[in-house]
Amino acid sequence: MGFGPVAPEQDEPYFHAEWEKRALGVTLAAGGLGAWNIDESRHARESLHPAIYYSSSYYEIWIRALEVLLKRHGFLSDADLAAGKAVDGAATPKRVLKAEAVAAVLARGGPCDRPLAAPARFREGERVRTKTFNPTGHTRLPRYARGKLGTVEAVHDGFVFPDSNAHGEGENPQRLYTVVFDGSEVWGEGADPTLSVSIDAWESYLEPA
């Protein structure tokens, strides 16, 4: 079915080639420039051409998307890439990640919760339906879970809203909910009767059932 079997690797190493180490490090270090957020970087990866996205390894996806982000924010040019060295100037970054700061930066991470004063629209145990929409921009409501009837299992804090944050339109935090669906609601006839699937959904993804 679909993409075929999962192929777990015994005693898999963290990296399968030296360049993967550098790809991880360059991507995180460039994120440290402070020019884009995690949602914009996810959207850049997901906006690669599907044929490239599905035929690339994950670190390859990261590097291809990183080039897009660096160009978009004025840090990299096609001339640089063609020459394989810096030929054009670069925008001034907010900051540059230095080796001595790495441990603290990684240990701090980037919390995305933003406490909200407004009460939650939905309560635990309430039945809700996910919206059906097909935005041209970024979203974190998976296609398989659109227009489905589910139950709010947990009401969380406010979280940065990726659909706007990915496009430089602000964090606009919204309440987040864990919503659980029966397998049959999502997959219909022939679904595994023992299956339930949950997503974490921002408030504007949901409407009362």
Binding site: M1, G2, F3, G4, V6, A7, P8, E9, E12, Y14, F15, A17, W19, R22, L24, G25, V26, A29, A30, E46, Y54, Y58, Y59, I63, E67, F75, L76, D80, L81, G84, K85, A86, A90, V96, L97, A99, V102, L106, A107, G109, G110, P111, C112, D113, R140, L141, H156, V160, L176, V180, D192, T194, L195, S196, V197, S198, I199, D200, A201, W202
Partner: protein, 188 residues
């Protein structure tokens, strides 16, 4: 790809945008410091200490931070406990969200389309490919990590482990058992 990444690193270094020593430090962190042994310690403590297990259930971020595990892709943790009735399985269908602070960098299969597309529709078939067959009655709960919450599965404590201390218990906890694609090992 090797040449492409090398060129990119060189260009950014020449422009003063990245520090190659910072890249070395990042790689070293994820090769030697942050990995699934962290998560195994969390699970072993939860098995040994009912009060800790309760805390982990209520506030996983704080309970995990108390053992020193914090940071990138572990800012908002949730622990989900396997029971005799329900088996939990974690996936990110949208990208590759994974609890780095407790499990380290995700394996290739976790980030690849077969797992990401099939875990939510055919989890039993996927688990069979990991050599794990659940009973037909076991309920399966799949957690799709679509936001910034990161899920850690707490596998069931195996039989025969009653006399083991936390360090020995942690050795029974595989990475896959904390994703849900495996079970904790039974002690020899």
């Amino acid at each position: 790809m090797a040449a492409r990444v090398r060129a990119l690193e060189a260009i950014l270094t020449q422009k003063g945008l990245i520090d190659p020593a910072a890249i070395d430090a990042i790689v070293e962190t994820y090769e030697t410091k942050v990995g699934p042994r962290n998560g195994a310690k969390v699970v072993a403590k939860a098995w040994s200490d009912a009060a800790y297990a309760d805390w982990l259930k209520r506030d996983a971020t704080a309970a995990i931070a108390s053992l020193g595990f914090t940071g990138r892709q572990g800012e908002h943790m949730q622990a989900v406990f396997n029971t005799p009735e329900t088996h939990n399985l974690v996936v990110c269908t949208l990208c590759s969200c994974y609890p780095w602070s407790v499990l380290g960098l995700p394996p290739v299969w976790y980030k690849a389309p077969p797992y990401r597309s099939r875990a939510v529709i055919d989890p039993r078939g996927v688990l069979e490919e990991f050599g794990l067959t659940l009973s037909a009655e076991t309920k399966i709960r799949v957690w799709d990590s679509t936001a910034e919450l990161r899920y850690l599965v707490v596998p069931m404590r195996p039989e025969g482990s009653e006399k083991l201390d936390e360090a020995a218990l942690a050795d029974l906890v595989s990475r896959d058992s904390m994703i849900g694609t495996g079970l904790a090992r039974v002690p020899a």
